[in-house]
């Protein structure tokens, strides 16, 4: 009996439905102090005086920390321009200036009020285009001194640039039948995990021990160490249950503050964000401007494309925006055949809260722009929109814009499957006013990052996996890794345990990001389990006086194939091994293998290619209320290539959840900033999709295996959000006859477009 391919219940589910699971927001330690943070109320200023001496004398105050306590500069993987606390210069509203640990909240609040801060205001820079102007004030005057992980174009308020250039762009434009040009603007989107950020730290034996609901424990460990100026091994990160992340809990946020306060106070400290702090200070998806210019032949064949992507880094690179800069060109040039291309992805400093990773990262707005733009081309040429895509979509063996050959491209198949479910011809033939439809294909990456995992056989025949993969809710740890290991060792699903992520116990893991847990950590665990299997067969062979080739692992036993009853339990194998060969265990490892691409066509690219690429098609039907401008999604279809479906129900859950977040991005969510202040400080005005906003989603799972994924599996969780705004944007344009060039597609924008259209078609006399 195998468990891979079945919708087994998640292993952490019982505690979650009983309310007994201990999340980061629930965790505490004896006599933990409370924390308050003094944050800047101005967007840009020079600190002329910071005096905490009065605050320190307030009864119950155990520690006050400032930039003087945190010497390091750090950043998310690529560019090190971030401090824990503002040092000399303030760069955004909400930037930490000092933090206080005290016995009670009242004491901590009093201490915050007693901190003396004087500043000289500087001219704030908010706008992406203005920030890049020659006369803009430089937000990081010391930019040249910052350490970087790789070389890339940058300078002044241009934090980073990634470029892809291939083919003869000028010649293609010169020979084009038609050139089409568009600009699109997209807002910030907040992850809004139900659980806010939280951290509990203590300082013990000269080391920092921090419990935090992070997606990427080894990153938090490294970042805390760098910011505090200590070795990574001086920091231990332990992960309780995580109440949602979606990219927002990858980077160190509260942990460095908690650690330094714990050291100074000599007591554990606990810090939990309020929702207002969450909205105002935790990095959201970046706002962006995408400009596309495309040369096409008469039949709609894309000859060349130029793209400029401006995206907002905010005040520093503490989030993943710089690291993912090159995903913008790959998203633009990963689905369609674009023989000549010039893409420039610019990450721009502004005096706003730093932006960060959110599911789909830089891809969502690029796919929105590309698909809206293709519809524009289709209109100009009078070609059916689906047909235009079929003519240009990448086929197996063809190359992405980076020169990477997609041997397993499956986009045509995904589009064909979508057509089976919702035939395009019928949908477009049945067109009615104020109803629209669109279909969009997409290629996406599985994060290739490394993982270590160990597997041991317990004396009772159970199996324990030790790894630093964090279960953020996807089921990667709660089901995926367990299912893979259970089948490899022939044990029941329930007999596979996974230790909670702890950087002291487990090997490196690249975090729960980019759909990589079941794929990457699952591969490492499978590698370890395969070695354990060898050891088990060796010992059992001796016990059963049989050759290992004649043995099978089933139901927690090792048996001789074809000889019923001739078997020993794994518990017996473990006991025998104990005093003969020694306890059974093995360490496994994984990193995605390199794939060939044209390295010469890119600069500033931290992510150069799509590993374990997966292929998708989304179809949406929408209906517009002509009185309110409200958009209702009436039908939604997802066809997704997952390589191999380890747990179909969990895959459906990832698709449904990703589409819901995408509907939020398309129609409702917009984290507004005014004069540097986050306007949407709570969930009253920051509108999240509810149960009434998300339609049932028709799902087809395709299995197009990846040669280096565990059992053929590819990443699943991330991509379902990415084409949603694109397909809804295109469907809305179809419904109202006017494309809206910015997100979200608000009722106001829809109504204005309808009114504009009605004026255009009414007689002018």
């Amino acid at each position: 009996m195998t468990v891979v391919g079945t919708s087994v219940r998640r292993a952490d589910g019982d505690a979650k439905v009983r309310g007994t699971a201990v999340y980061g927001m629930d965790y505490t330690e004896p006599c933990a102090l409370v924390v308050r943070v003094l944050r800047s109320s101005v967007p840009a200023a020079r600190i002329t005086r910071l005096d905490t001496s009065r605050a320190e004398k307030i009864p119950g105050v155990r520690a006050v920390a400032t930039a003087a306590d945190t010497p390091g500069l750090s950043g998310m993987l690529v560019l090190k321009d971030q401090t824990v606390f503002a040092r000399d210069e303030i760069r955004y509203v909400g930037e930490p200036i000092a933090a206080v640990a005290a016995d009670t909240i009242e004491q901590a609040d009093a201490a915050i009020a007693a901190i003396e801060l004087e500043v000289d205001p500087l001219e704030p820079v908010y706008d992406l285009e203005a920030s890049l102007a020659d006369d803009a004030r430089v937000i990081h005057p010391d930019w040249e001194s910052y350490e970087t992980f790789l070389d890339g174009p940058r300078g002044g308020n241009l934090a980073w640039e990634a470029r892809v250039e291939r083919g003869d762009v000028e010649a293609a434009f010169a020979s084009a039948h038609l050139v089409v040009e568009d600009e699109y603007r997209t807002p910030r989107q907040h992850q809004c995990s139900i659980e806010p950020h939280a951290a509990v730290a203590r300082y013990e034996q000269g080391r920092y021990i921090v419990h935090t609901p992070t997606q990427f424990p080894f990153l938090v460990r490294g970042r805390v160490a760098e910011l505090l100026g200590v070795r990574p091994s001086d920091v231990r990160v332990v992960v309780p249950a995580i109440g949602g992340g979606f990219g927002g809990k990858l980077d160190a946020m509260l942990e460095p503050m908690a650690c330094v306060l714990a050291r100074k106070a000599g007591r554990p400290v606990r810090v939990v964000n309020s929702r207002a702090e969450e909205q105002a200070t935790c990095g959201p998806r970046e706002n962006a401007i995408v400009r596309l210019r495309t040369a096409v032949a008469k039949d709609g064949t894309i000859l060349a494309q130029e793209g400029v992507i401006l995206c907002d880094n905010g005040a520093n690179s503490s989030g993943e925006t710089v690291a993912c800069a090159n995903l913008a060109p790959l998203a633009l040039g990963g689905t369609y055949r674009i023989p000549s291309a010039r893409y420039v992805s610019k990450v721009v400093y502004t005096n706003t809260v730093p932006t960060a990773a959110f599911r789909g990262v830089n891809g969502n707005y690029c796919v929105f722009a590309q698909e809206m733009h293709l519809d524009h081309i289709a209109r100009e040429l009078g070609i059916d929109r689906r047909e235009l895509r079929l003519r240009n979509v990448l086929k197996a063996g063809e190359q992405m814009v980076n020169g990477q050959q997609l041997d397993d491209a499956f986009l045509e198949q995904a589009l064909a499957k979508a057509d089976e479910i919702a035939p395009w011809e019928e949908l477009t033939a049945a067109r009615r006013p104020l109803r629209g439809v669109a279909v969009v294909p997409m290629t996406w990456i599985t994060n290739p990052g490394p993982s270590g995992a160990t597997v041991k056989l317990g004396e009772d025949g159970t199996v324990t996996v030790t790894c630093a993969a964090a279960e953020i809710g996807t089921g990667g740890v709660a089901t995926g890794i367990r299912q893979i290991v259970a089948d490899e060792l022939g044990v029941p699903f329930e007999d596979v345990l996974v230790t909670p992520a702890d950087t002291d116990a487990a090997g490196y893991d690249h975090g729960a990001q980019g759909s990589r847990t079941t794929f990457g950590t699952g591969s490492a665990a499978l590698d370890a389990a395969a070695q354990v299997r060898e050891q088990v067969l060796d010992v059992a062979g001796g016990m059963l006086e049989a050759s290992p080739e004649d043995l099978e692992l089933v139901d927690g036993h090792v048996g001789v194939v074809g000889v019923p009853g001739r078997r020993v339990s794994l518990a017996a194998v473990a006991a025998t091994a104990m005093w003969s060969s020694g306890p059974i265990s093995a360490a496994g490892k994984f990193v995605a293998p390199p794939v060939p691409f044209d390295a010469g066509c890119m600069v500033g690219a931290a992510l150069t290619h799509f590993s374990a690429a997966s292929y998708h098609a989304h179809l949406a039907e929408v209906e517009i209320d002509p009185d309110t401008g409200r958009v209702r999604v009436t039908r939604y279809v997802v066809v997704q290539d997952v390589g191999r479906a380890i747990n179909p129900q969990m895959i459906e859950g990832q698709i449904q959840g990703g589409v819901a977040q995408g509907i939020g991005y398309a129609l409702y969510e917009n984290l507004r900033i005014s004069d540097g202040v986050v306007v949407d400080s709570g969930l009253e005005t920051y509108r999240l999709p509810t149960a009434l906003d998300v339609p049932p989603i028709e799902i087809a799972i395709l299995e197009n295996p990846c040669s280096y994924g565990p059992l053929g599996a590819k990443g699943v969780a991330e991509p379902s959000i990415i084409p949603v705004a694109a397909v809804i944007g295109c469907a809305v344009a179809d419904a109202i006859g006017t494309p809206l060039q910015s997100l979200p597609l608000t009722p106001f924008d829809v109504l204005a477009a309808l009114r504009h259209r009605d004026q255009e078609i009414s007689p002018r006399d």
């Binding site: 219940r9 439905v17 309310g19 859950g653 709570g682």
Partner: protein, 157 residues
């Protein structure tokens, strides 16, 4: 102030300022951390408990307002080491749980719906869940769970 109420079927006395939100009373003073502080402003519903069988957001409810009344939290749905309630069971069967932070609130809302409704449709379940935000699942499997639970326990108590 001190006041008394019934919590998960047993009488409790607390002595905390009357305006302290019920959520804080439960979590900080009574050791029940099942209800979650998702937003603290009554929007996300992760803190939902039943007050005299009606779902309420405990983060906005002054603790003293429950004096003499009956409060049920997610911890009441199943015995500590007993089998899961039909709603809890269905949430896991249907795959309605991902990160799980919204689930204590979802489970309480759905429990109330199942106790009170004779005819559950997908639409009525979705209507009832508008005060409970889930950022992970897209709601479908939570809705499926409610309909499944309505089938298993009849939903006709």
């Amino acid at each position: 102030m001190s006041y008394a109420f019934t919590l998960n079927g047993r009488g409790v006395d607390v002595d905390v300022p009357g305006l302290t939100p019920l959520l804080e009373v439960l979590r900080e003073h009574l050791g029940l951390t099942g209800a979650k502080p998702g937003c603290g402003e009554g929007r996300c519903g992760a803190c939902t408990v039943l007050l005299d069988d009606q779902p309420v957001v405990s983060c906005l409810l002054p603790g003293s307002a429950v004096e003499g009344r009956s409060v049920r939290t997610v911890e009441s749905l199943a015995g500590a080491d007993g089998p899961l309630s039909p709603v809890q069971d269905a949430l896991l069967d249907a795959g309605g749980v991902q990160c799980g932070a919204c689930i204590p609130g979802m489970a309480m809302t759905l429990t109330a719906v199942l106790e009170q409704s004779r005819d559950l449709s997908e639409e009525t379940v979705r209507q009832s869940l508008t005060g409970n935000i889930c950022r992970c699942t897209g709601y479908q499997k939570i809705v499926d769970a409610a309909l499944r639970a309505a089938g298993t326990d009849g939903g006709h108590r």
